[in-house]
Assembly symmetry: C2
Homo-oligomer: 568 residues x 2
């Protein structure tokens, strides 16, 4: 049975590790030092239990990813009791709800006085299995913190699972007992005011458009994409990185060992969220689920750290061949996030996957993984796990929601209950580009504006600027700009950059000036990478309900856009 | 000056090696064993002279590539004598024409009694520098053999360079002296009658459409893309492969040594011409220069040979790091063809670049490189040099026309004199797909057709079949088919294949059945690779005047196409 097998695969170990709110709050308070006790799983290997035990100990909260997947309610499982009355008439005791907690076969929650059996929803929860922290109790306090749930879409999903109401006997003074839970976001760092915040808890914020024109993004305006809270400050003196090998053996490195034992490597690498430009897909096609990022969920930095390849070699892995039985390197973050990459990328001499401790010459900011993160250049940023504490070599992908569900693409026709397993996890990204400014230089500014001199402008012009990027280290070889909605094209100047790394891991800035008389309302941009891949013309055909990897041509009105800057 | 510098770079060494028709005919007769005497180049290194010397000795004919680049005549160079009369009035002695041969600074030819100064055209000749074999004499005998020149486009190009007429004093009995030249195509092999021939001299022929539905293409119907003639039968007992290192040292291997000294490797790899589907671009956008291939300039085979990496290691190259100063591995074929790949691909452990001696378990057919060819999987087939006799490690790309000119892409606006050097040579290819058959199963055939049973058809249907492929070893993860010109899409079944090699080097066949009532005139196909690159919707925006790397959605009429097969 699909649900049961998925549950066993994804959730069972964590479930059985921490079962009450108080337990997970305790765990959270101590999460840098404790490991929760593990239940023996019998059929599970030591390695498997270990990794999930740690995930369990760290995974301490109902959480949220930023796309919400709608699900049609499935048929009630045959083994479940069948309600003899309509849900509106059925009364359920609070003690009964509490039984349907993370230890049970079916999962209930209540909101207000309404009770829901969300068993069938759990595998579809975009935020992953940590939703199970809330089952058996009241969902409201979690949603007060993870406020992204407070919208009609989410209420509608929940309502599909309605099974009855709390029995009035359990109401004290007509009210349900309150359940206080700690706000894990209370210790999030302060952020730069120019970031464009798309959600605050968890923090998801775009790089301001003006900073998208700069090759190296300053740390404080590098876009923030958090799936959960930022862990409380991790002590770099005591923080360690564990590497679990296929035989279950574990090798552990302190930060100091990482710095001293291995040669550092600095790479220039662009990170991009798979949701970058999702708002363009929504406007260009139809509704997508997830944060409506414009074109600022992308930034570029110099990252310094240690090659993952070198660490694995030191841990005893034969990195020149694919290690026997290993297919993926899984990464686990201190806040409960997990993801993986193919082992080929992890060990590739020219793959430049690093365990980074510096960003643009400074220690990693807390929002970007202090003290340690993975940087997987050329791959979707979701694989560059922050607050890294463990690497696991495995024959399977990370079992996290973010690997198995959230970061995938589907066909334009595929609905909101696709065959998740059939789609490839996003790793390398396709070629991409965006316009980030339209600088208007009036005829009266030709003599006194610096821009007019830089571009050698001789008449009223618009200078179009933007970025282009391709995954997989594929160099951008051409950027085509149309000043007239596609009727004609010209090649932009691609600005040369001093790039560090084995391949072209970072975006390119480009620019091109057009006399105003050649402009016919809409500018378009499309880029070409060194494999001569290019971008699709429109949005409908690469539409996917999650709005991932939007890459249709960026189309901007020459006059009606807020990207227009009047040059003085 | 552009012309002079290009000439020095591309043509000088060959030019000075063989200067008369009789010399090159002698050279050709002996070309498997001789090397032409080299002129000392002074400033050239030994390695540089050597490689061009050999190219010169082998490059023995005015040749032709299959796209013809039109050029506007440039201004006459200031240092050239200025004609005092109009060209129609000017009389030129035959001896004067003969002076403007490959040794001279300027290049003349005559056709009929009309004389042309083609100096400015030479760098633009799509067939490469071997055009210089014809200069100083009559172009007609060459064009009689390379019959692709016999069309108005080419006459028009030549006419731009008209400078005068042969002086009647040099006509014997009113006729020009005849110049007999040997037909190098006379020893080309016989070919399978089902191949769809696009040009016979050189032979360029598509795989028949029916064979495009088979995973492994049989050798005899594997598409043929020859730039020149097929070399006379090469004796595998005496054939050797030379490897020239950066210091000029040369290591030589007999066929027997290659087989015995190295572990063989078999890979399944698709080769595709950059011109595949050019006819689709022409029909979908506008005129392109080159052979009008449909979708059959692609085939798939199992290739067995020796890893280039292993050969280089044996020759003393440190293949785990990029060898000092080396950027490219150049390949030279016995017929004069040359191309190169980045050194990273040559030494990549998982790059699977092999020097192949078998194709589908048999010795290479003559049309496919007997006895030795390169197979560069994931790269455009133009880099998989046939009749291989030399590999050169170099800090620059192959200087051949096919590397520096012919296999590049440009913007849709870029005219027929683009900045050749600014464009990237095609190496890895973009994602691609095509429909190869529409099998109509009538309602009366549902019970007795095997196809209806295989697909479980329950009503009148059309089964759409085709291939999908991506360069760079990027796996095809999804194929979307529209039965109604893009209004809706469905995912095709991708047929599983037993593929050999480190990455996904070979195409995938796919299929999908549609009830006829869901079909609305046009089928479309587009594929997605594992980097989630996809194909452009239309042709105009990735149009390039050479029609290379056409990848717009393939659009086929459900009723009006010759791909429709009535199932019996």
């Amino acid at each position: 049975m699909y649900r049961a097998s998925r549950k066993a695969r994804f959730f069972a170990p964590q479930l059985r590790t921490l079962t009450s709110a108080s337990q997970w709050i305790s765990a959270r308070r101590a999460h840098t030092s404790i490991e929760a006790p593990l239940l023996s799983q019998g059929s599970k290997t030591k390695a498997y239990s270990d990794r999930h035990g740690i995930l369990g100990a760290v995974a301490i909260f109902a959480t949220i990813s930023l796309g919400l997947t709608l699900s049609n309610k499935r048929h009630v499982d045959a083994e479940q009791p069948v309600a003899v009355t309509s849900p509106e008439q059925r009364l359920i005791r609070l003690a009964e709800v509490r039984k349907h907690n993370g230890k049970a076969e079916t999962y209930w929650v209540y909101r207000g006085d309404r009770v829901y059996d969300i068993t069938d929803w759990v595998p579809n929860h975009p935020g992953g299995e940590v939703i199970l922290r809330a089952v058996g109790g009241n969902i409201d306090p979690y949603w007060n913190i993870f406020s992204i749930h407070q919208k009609q879409d989410v209420y509608d999903i929940l309502e599909q699972y309605f099974i009855g109401k709390i029995d009035p006997q359990d109401l004290a003074d007509g009210r349900l007992p309150s359940e206080a839970i700690e706000d894990p976001f209370s210790t999030d760092p302060d952020r730069h005011e120019s970031l464009i915040v798309r959600s605050s808890r968890p923090c998801n914020a775009e790089t301001p458009t003006t900073a998208l024109g700069t090759y190296i993004t300053p740390n404080e305006v590098f876009y923030v994409r958090n799936h959960l809270w930022v862990p409380e400050i991790i002590n770099p003196e005591t923080h360690t990185l564990k590497v679990e090998l296929m035989d279950g053996d574990e090798v552990e490195y302190t930060m100091d060992e990482l710095r001293k034992k291995f040669n550092p490597l600095t790479i220039t690498a662009t990170l991009q969220c798979s949701g970058n430009r999702r708002a363009h897909m929504t406007r260009g096609s139809r509704q997508t689920n997830g944060l409506q990022w414009e074109m600022g969920a992308i930034s570029n930095a110099e990252w310094t750290g240690v090659r993952l390849r070198d660490i694995l070699a030191d841990a005893g892995v034969h990195v020149d061949d694919i290690p026997e039985g290993v297919k993926h390197a899984q990464f686990m973050g201190a806040e409960a996030y997990g993801a993986s990459i193919p082992i080929e990328k992890a060990i590739d001499r020219r793959g430049d996957t690093i365990i980074a401790y510096e960003m643009n010459g400074a220690p990693l900011p807390r929002d970007h993984g202090f003290p340690l993160r993975v940087v997987v250049p050329g791959h979707v940023a979701a694989r560059s796990v922050k607050w890294l504490n463990k690497i696991i070599l495995s024959d399977e992908e990370s079992t996290s929601q973010w690997q198995r569900r959230d970061y995938k693409c589907f066909g334009p026709n595929e609905g909101k209950n696709p065959n998740w397993d059939a789609a490839a996890s996003i790793q390398e990204m396709p070629v991409q580009s965006a316009i980030t400014s339209l600088k208007h230089v009036g005829a009266d500014k030709l003599n006194d504006s610096k821009l007019a001199r830089v571009y050698g402008l001789e008449e009223e012009s618009i200078v179009v600027e933007g970025y282009a990027f391709a995954g997989g280290g594929r160099r951008i070889v051409r950027v085509d700009i149309s000043p007239d909605d596609g009727r004609s094209w010209q090649q932009a100047e691609i600005l040369p950059q001093d790039e560090k790394g084995s391949k072209a891991w970072s975006w390119k800035q480009w620019r091109l000036a057009f006399p105003v008389r050649d402009v016919n309302q809409y500018f378009l941009v499309k880029a070409v990478d060194e494999s001569y891949n290019t971008q699709p013309d429109s949005f409908d055909a690469h539409y996917n309900f999650r709005g991932n990897l939007t890459s249709g041509w960026h189309r901007v009105s020459a006059t009606g856009s807020d990207l227009v800057v009047e040059v003085k």
